[in-house]
C-alpha cells in the first residue's frame, strides 16, 4: 500500500506560454482520468510527473507521492510506473529478460531472480515463456508482460498514456480490466490519460478535462 499522488498547483508553460494547469489528488487504488483532445498537453503532463520534460518547458508547482515531494527527483528515483500505447518491450531482451530488467536489485542471486520471474509469468498465465522473443508474442501477451514488468519494479504510482487505444475491441476490455484490477490490488494511485470516454468510464474514478 502506498500513499496518494498529489499534483499541487501544477502549471506547465513552454517558452513563456502557459500550456496547462492542474490541481489534483489521486488516492491509492483509485483512477483519475485526464481527458482532452490531442495537443491539449496530456503527454506533457505525464512527462512532468515522470521527470522527463524536455528543455524549454517550465514547471511550476509540486508533485507529491506518498507524502514526499518528488518534483526534483530524477525519473529513475521516483518509482512512478508508466504504460504507453505501445508495450515498448525491449526487443533485444527475452521475455524473462524484460521482466528481470524491472525486478529490483534487492532480489538477490540468480536463482532467486529467475524464480521471481517464473512466478510473475505464472501469475499472468504465461508460465514457461522466459526464453521467448517478445516480438513473437500476441498483442494480449505483450500487454500482460509490459504490465507485469512495471509492477515488478514496485512502483508507488502508475501512469497510463492511452494504453488501450491500439488494442481491438475484444482485447481492449480484457486488458483494461486487468490493468485496473492489478492497480487496485496493489493500492496504486493511477493517472489515466485518454481521449476515449469508454476508458474513463471503465476506470470508474474522477474525470478532469484538459484544454
Amino acid at each position: 500500500m502506498t500513499g496518494a499522488l498529489r499534483l499541487e498547483g501544477l502549471a506547465i508553460s513552454r517558452l513563456g506560454v502557459p500550456l496547462l494547469a492542474l490541481e489534483a489528488e489521486v488516492a491509492p487504488g483509485t483512477v483519475l482520468s485526464v481527458m482532452g483532445p490531442s495537443g491539449s498537453g496530456k503527454s506533457t503532463l505525464l512527462a512532468a510527473i515522470m521527470g522527463t520534460l524536455a528543455p524549454g518547458f517550465a514547471l511550476a508547482g509540486r508533485v507529491w507521492l506518498d507524502g514526499a515531494d518528488i518534483t526534483r527527483l530524477p525519473p529513475e528515483a521516483r518509482r512512478v510506473g508508466i504504460l504507453y500505447q505501445e508495450e515498448l518491450l525491449f526487443p533485444h531482451l527475452s521475455v524473462g529478460g524484460n521482466l528481470a530488467f524491472g525486478l529490483p536489485r534487492t532480489v538477490r542471486g540468480r536463482a532467486a531472480r529467475l524464480a521471481r520471474v517464473a512466478a510473475a509469468l505464472a501469475e499472468i498465465g504465461m508460465a514457461g515463456f522466459e526464453g521467448r522473443d517478445p516480438a513473437t508474442l500476441s498483442g494480449g501477451q505483450k500487454a500482460r508482460v509490459a504490465l507485469m514488468r512495471m509492477l515488478l519494479a514496485e512502483p508507488r504510482a502508475l501512469l497510463l498514456d492511452e494504453p488501450f487505444s491500439r488494442l481491438d475491441a475484444g482485447l481492449r476490455a480484457q486488458v483494461r480490466e486487468m490493468v485496473f484490477e492489478r492497480a487496485r490490488a496493489s493500492g496504486l494511485p493511477v493517472l489515466l490519460v485518454t481521449h476515449d470516454p469508454a476508458d474513463a468510464a471503465a476506470a470508474g474514478g474522477a474525470v478532469v478535462e484538459l484544454g
Partner: protein
C-alpha cells in the same frame, strides 16, 4: 556528468583543431615565415617560386576542370537515376549493388579502372585482335591522359555510390511518392515531374555532401597519381611532390601551392553556389512553364545505363585486380591469363603484412576514438536536451570541405619546427579528423530516431541514465553503431595523404604502399596490394553485418531496422 557535457566541445577541438593549426602552418611558410630556412619576415618569395613553375597554369586548370567535371557528372547521373527509378524494384537492386561499392577504397577502385581501360587492359584485350587488329598494346595515352578524363571517370565511379546513398537518405523528407503522384496526376512525366516537384527539396539536403565531393575531387591525390596526368599533374599532386622532396627549400612553393589550392576550392565552391542560384531561377521558370514531358524514356534509360556502367566499372576493375594477382603468364591480346599461380601472392603478400597490421591498428584506433566521441556527443545531446542546429552540420563537414592538401602540409611543418617525432599516434589523430565526421553522420540519424520512450520506461523501472545507455540504448542500436564503425574504418583505411604527410613517410599502410606501386607498373604487385586494401575494408563491413545478426538471432524485433 561533467565530462559528458564537455564531449561536444572536445569533439570539435579534436576535429577542427588540427585543421586550424594546419592552415596556420601552411599559411606561415607561404608568406615566407619559415625559421628553419631563415625566413623570419614576410616575403613574396614562396609565391614567386610557385609562379615560376612552368607547369602552374596546367596544374591549376586540371584541378578546376577535373573537380567540376567529376562533381557535375556524378550529380547529374545520380539525379537522373533517382528521378527515373525511385520507388521501383530496379532502384532497390541498384541501391543493393552500389552500397557495397562505397566501401571500396578510392585507390583500389582507381587501379581497377586503370587495369580495365589501359591500352593493355581488359577492354582492349576483349576487342583484340578481332575487332581492333592490335597484336600489341596500342601506343595510346588512355590512363593518365593529359585532360584528366580517366581521372574524372575514376572519381565519378566512386562518388556516384556516395551521392546516391546521400540522396536516398534525404529522399523521405521530400515525400517523393505523394509529390510524384500529384505531379503525374497533373499530367507530368515521371522524370520531369520528379525534377520539378521533388528534386529542389532533395538538393537542399544533399548540398553539403555535394560540396564535399567538389572539394575532394579538386584536390584528391591518390586517384590523381594513379589515373591523372603526370606532366603537369593536378596542383595537389605537385604540392605533395614538393613536400616529399628532400630539398627543404621546396617547402616554400609547396606551402604557396597549398594556399592557392585552398583559394581555388573556395572559388569553385563560390562558383557552384552561384550556379545553384542560377539553376534555381531557371528551374522555377521551367516548372512554372508547365511543360509536361521531356523525353522521360531516354532520361530513364540514360540514368540507369550510366549508373550500371559506373557500378560495372568498379566491379570489373576489382575482378581484374583479382585476376592479375593470381595470373601466370598473360601475354597481350589474350582475354585470360595462360595459367594461374599464387606466385604473386607469395612474392608480394609477406612484405605487405606489416603495413596491413599498421593499417588495421591505425584504422581501429581512429574508429574507436571517433565512435567514443560521437556516442558521447549524442548521449550528451539526449541527456541535456541540446538541439544541434544547422551550424553544427557545417562544422562536421568542415574537415571534408577544407582540402587535405591545404592543411596537412602545415601540420607536418609544425611537427618539423617543433621537433616532434610524428609517429603512429599523430597519424591516428590525423585520421580521426576525417573518420569522425563520417562516423557521426552515419550514427546520428538512427541514434536520434530511437524511440526515447524506451528510456522513460527503463527509468520508470529504476534504471539511471548510465544503465539506460549501456543496457537498453546501445544494445538496441548495436547494428547502426557497428555500421558506423565499419564506415569509419573504411574511411581510415582509404586515407593516403594524412598517413603520408603526418607520418613523414615513415608510417606505411596498405594505401600508401599500393599508391607507391603506381609508378612501377608491376600489375601482380598492384593487384595483391589493392585487393588486400579492399579486403581489410570488406572484412570490417562483413563483421558489422554479421555480429548483430548472430547476437540477435532470436530477436525478431531487432531485425526490422
Amino acid at each position: 556528468m561533467r565530462p559528458l557535457r564537455a564531449a561536444p566541445l572536445l569533439t570539435l577541438l579534436v576535429m577542427l583543431g588540427p585543421v586550424a593549426a594546419g592552415l596556420l602552418g601552411t599559411l606561415a611558410p607561404a608568406l615566407g615565415l619559415f625559421p628553419a630556412l631563415g625566413g623570419t619576415g614576410p616575403s613574396p618569395a614562396p609565391f614567386a617560386a610557385l609562379a615560376a613553375w612552368p607547369g602552374l597554369p596546367g596544374a591549376v586548370g586540371l584541378s578546376v576542370t577535373t573537380g567540376l567535371a567529376a562533381t557535375v557528372l556524378s550529380l547529374v547521373l545520380v539525379t537522373l537515376t533517382v528521378a527515373g527509378w525511385q520507388g521501383t524494384r530496379v532502384m532497390a537492386a541498384l541501391e543493393r549493388a552500389l552500397s557495397p561499392l562505397l566501401s571500396v577504397p578510392h585507390a583500389a577502385a582507381a587501379f581497377g579502372l586503370a587495369f580495365l581501360i589501359a591500352p593493355s587492359g581488359w577492354i582492349a584485350r576483349g576487342l583484340s585482335p578481332w575487332a581492333t587488329g592490335w597484336e600489341r598494346p596500342p601506343d595510346l595515352l588512355i590512363v593518365q591522359d593529359p585532360w584528366g578524363l580517366a581521372m574524372v571517370a575514376g572519381l565519378v565511379a566512386k562518388e556516384v555510390p556516395f551521392l546516391l546513398l546521400m540522396t536516398l537518405a534525404a529522399l523521405p523528407q521530400a515525400q517523393p511518392a505523394r509529390r510524384l503522384t500529384i505531379a503525374r496526376s497533373l499530367g507530368y512525366g515521371r522524370v520531369t515531374g520528379w525534377l520539378k516537384a521533388v528534386f529542389p527539396s532533395v538538393y537542399a539536403q544533399v548540398r553539403l555532401p555535394v560540396y564535399a565531393v567538389l572539394a575532394y575531387s579538386m584536390t584528391v591525390v591518390d586517384v590523381a597519381i594513379i589515373l591523372g596526368p603526370a606532366t603537369p599533374p593536378p596542383l595537389s599532386v605537385q604540392v605533395v611532390r614538393w613536400m616529399a622532396d628532400p630539398d627543404l627549400t621546396l617547402r616554400l612553393p609547396a606551402a604557396a601551392g597549398a594556399v592557392l589550392q585552398l583559394g581555388l576550392v573556395l572559388a569553385a565552391l563560390g562558383l557552384w553556389r552561384l550556379g545553384e542560384i542560377g539553376a534555381g531561377r531557371l528551374g522555377r521558370a521551367w516548372a512554372e512553364g508547365g511543360a509536361r514531358r521531356h523525353g522521360d524514356g531516354v532520361a530513364r534509360a540514360l540514368g540507369l545505363g550510366l549508373a550500371a556502367l559506373s557500378a560495372g566499372a568498379v566491379i570489373a576493375g576489382l575482378a581484374g585486380l583479382g585476376l592479375w594477382s593470381v595470373a601466370g603468364l598473360w601475354p597481350f591480346p589474350d582475354a585470360l591469363p595462360a595459367g594461374m599461380s599464387l606466385t604473386g601472392w607469395a612474392r608480394h603478400a609477406p612484405g605487405l603484412a606489416a603495413p596491413a597490421l599498421d593499417t588495421v591498428w591505425i584504422a581501429g584506433a581512429a574508429t574507436a576514438l571517433a565512435l567514443a566521441l560521437a556516442l558521447a556527443c549524442l548521449e550528451a545531446e539526449h541527456r541535456f536536451g541540446l538541439s544541434p542546429g544547422a551550424r553544427s552540420l557545417w562544422l562536421l563537414y568542415l574537415p571534408l570541405l577544407v582540402p587535405q592538401v591545404a592543411f596537412l602540409p602545415g601540420l607536418q611543418t609544425f611537427a618539423l619546427v617543433a621537433g616532434v617525432d610524428a609517429g603512429m599516434g599523430a597519424v591516428i589523430l590525423g585520421h580521426l579528423v576525417f573518420v569522425l565526421p563520417y562516423v557521426f553522420l552515419s550514427l546520428a540519424a538512427p541514434w536520434r530516431a530511437w524511440d526515447a520512450r524506451h528510456a522513460t520506461v527503463a527509468a520508470a523501472l529504476g534504471a539511471g541514465p548510465g544503465a539506460v545507455f549501456w543496457r537498453v540504448r546501445l544494445p538496441m542500436l548495436l547494428a547502426p553503431v557497428l555500421t558506423a564503425a565499419a564506415v569509419g574504418f573504411a574511411v581510415s583505411v582509404g586515407q593516403y595523404l594524412p598517413t603520408l604527410l603526418i607520418g613523414g613517410g615513415r608510417v606505411q599502410t596498405l594505401t600508401t604502399e599500393a599508391v607507391a606501386l603506381a609508378s612501377g607498373g608491376d600489375r601482380r604487385a598492384i593487384g595483391v596490394a589493392a585487393l588486400m586494401q579492399t579486403g581489410v575494408v570488406v572484412a570490417g563491413f562483413a563483421l558489422a553485418l554479421t555480429v548483430p545478426r548472430l547476437a540477435w538471432a532470436n530477436r525478431r524485433g531487432m531485425r526490422a531496422a
